[in-house]
Symmetry: C2
Subunit: 75 residues, 2 copies
């Protein structure tokens, strides 16, 4: 069995805002992030204080974010 | 070692829209879902055709969704 370490780099290109904060100081944030030097994508994710660790989240393209924005406006 | 199977039930209370569709037919959707009979929460997640399988996603409370909507309106 070969165990591979997933290694990747990322850069938070734009910090767009904090959605919520947990009692342990983790924040759910909306950011624009470049993964492995690629085109920046929207990202909704939990972060430890100072962005020291990243938690679960999803990544959305510009088109997907436009569609989500449209759906939310109808709520 | 004890291996536990994670078992849970969920109900899609409200289908709010499709955000995108992959070439394999999976859809990224915005739904309102009740997990284990709890208060329905917003959910952004990938789904196989007919909702046969669920993929990665995030769950947001009403407050979190309000905040996200506000942040998106500023984009």
């Amino acid at each position: 069995m070969v165990i591979k370490m997933a290694e990747f780099k990322y850069e938070i290109i734009e910090h767009l805002g904090v959605i919520s904060k947990s009692s342990k100081g983790w924040t759910k944030e909306l950011n624009k992030i470049s993964w492995n030097g690629g085109t920046p994508k929207y990202d909704i994710r939990d972060w430890a204080p100072e962005h020291a660790k990243m938690g679960k989240g999803i990544t959305l393209s510009d088109d997907e974010m436009e569609k989500l924005k449209y759906l939310l406006q109808k709520l």
